[in-house]
Subunit: 136 residues, 6 copies
């Protein structure tokens, strides 16, 4: 079994909050991340797939196909966007990195499986200090 990882990056605005709470409550729970005027990040995304390298080509999956799947289904929908307002697969969710990792998993899994490989891990780094991993 071989694990193949592709890194992509995107810049986006977000805010962590629950609509039904007051600004004070949101600030108490989510701190400065609940700022009503938004803030943003350079997110780094690592998508890991696994499988056995084919005898014919010697790779698990053509990395350009993996790259294209990620660009079409994630990066082009989220880069330079507002995660809370404009990203269809995040609608109705709190815009934590945890939710984002699970949503990206759900978006990618059918496209990765069509190639014969399996999705193994979604890792997102929000800052140099904070990151999330999700294995489905």
């Amino acid at each position: 079994m071989i694990y193949l990882t592709r890194r992509e990056r995107f810049c986006a605005a977000h805010r962590m909050f629950r609509e039904e709470w007051s600004d004070e409550d949101n600030h108490r729970i989510f701190g400065k991340c609940s700022n009503p005027n938004w803030h943003g990040h350079n997110y780094t995304l690592w998508v890991t797939v696994k499988g056995e390298p084919s005898e014919e080509y010697g790779f698990v999956m053509n990395i350009n196909i993996l790259k294209q799947i990620i660009l079409d289904n994630i990066i082009n929908k989220i880069d330079h966007k507002n995660i809370n307002l404009e990203v269809d697969f995040m609608k109705g969710k709190i815009a934590t990195t945890e939710s984002l990792a699970m949503a990206i998993w759900n978006e990618l899994v059918p496209f990765v499986e069509k190639t014969g490989a399996s999705l193994h891990c979604i890792k997102i780094e929000e800052t140099e200090n904070n990151s999330i991993e999700y294995y489905g």
Copy 2:
């Protein structure tokens, strides 16, 4: 002459646009950076000061003092904020990294000079690929 550099980081939302232009014109000039719903970045800021190391202490400037000047005057005002809406020293300016570097220079110069050192350079990295330097 010795050059001393302190790195700090902040996360913020911004949008590049001119209010008097249409959304189409803003998009034509500023591309996806003019998204009306904001986007954001993890900015990295390097502040370089210069001077001769004192004989008594062996340093140009106490790096903890430099750090505190940057935190008080820049980071605490801009981190997890919206640069266009909430940062006093960016009011009325287009939120380009160029404008930001010049504004940060102007904010820091009196505080650095009070210490006996000189401000030499403001460098800001918006993404791994794009950065700006300003020498006053």
Copy 3:
């Protein structure tokens, strides 16, 4: 299950040696790392916890609480200190990165468990080239 990782850094002096051995024997086993006058490193520490994101907040654990647990119990006791002489949780141990990872695990595990999450991994990078992981 979601894995959440927080990075913190500290600078410390150490020496690898066994008191009951001669300097020559220590040098034979531990090489230049046994220098009796100490040497030091910028250590990078990654603490990974795991759990299910709560429905209410959308995160596994408030990252600011995790950060505070690490600062209070590890960083404030080890940063700018001598690991062999001054760090209570390393008393009587050889100051290898392996021992350090296990000791940090033991320090953190009760505080992490009180939050409802589980401690998953302690990773320490001693230099760009050498690192250690411990999963309990």
Copy 4:
């Protein structure tokens, strides 16, 4: 159980292709990586071994021994070389990063096992964006 990782780097030329295919077919499958005039990379290699730290020394394995095993058996044979033409353990294989990771695993496993530790993972980064992991 402790996991110990050593990073080493090498620069090499390669080309992805199957001799029995035409240049056009190779280009269709392998894209610009099949360029007949070669191209190259700065590869980063992480070798992870696992074991229990000895009571006597406090480490899983002397990192200088691990370093020497990697230099003797991998780096000195592949650094500044052509992977397709000059590296004995890659003879007859398609020069994908997948094949490289498996071949390096096979080269290292007997030398690591002689030390009493176990080989756990070979990770190779071909570029900042693309990497491979192999666990045997």
Copy 5:
């Protein structure tokens, strides 16, 4: 005056040698970099331009235009290529990073000047340890 830097990357094969010398002489001068079977690198290129930010747009130069100039004139001609055999602007030159920096300067200078900005610096990193800067 503001300095704006764009980073781009490319992977290429090269060999340092003079055709009129023997392999032994080339090896004596250029070491393992003269390997007749080629080797390669992930090169990182930073292009710095300078100018005054326009009042209208607030930037020195549209970074997307700078990016496109670099892609069209450098990256698309050198990425996944053999620098000695396939890159027109390196024909007849020894493939050192020094020559490469000067050649890239010459390629870019007319295109940058047409935009109203000035070319300030070409920086190339061949490995984490070795880099070159050229200011014209």
Copy 6:
């Protein structure tokens, strides 16, 4: 004129203090960096030389010669050592990064000049956040 930079790294212990001051005074000025039991860092050193590339070889200076000059005169004397106690060129100086940069400049300048190139800059990074440059 071409600028060539070589990066090397070393790990060392140090303490910032003046012997004639009390521990309290040292702590007031130098903070936790004056810890009497030492602390340490992974220092990164960049040495930049400048000159015109020779027509014969196409480089400013053989990078392996520059590397050897730095190893012989700096790294082998300071790596895994105590800067205050064991490094001859730092005797009698306060162990600030500023003093270190100036001392390294003085050590290297005669060896670099013998090669026909000129020493341009010594840059030292003490942590990811703090660095010093010295141009002679």
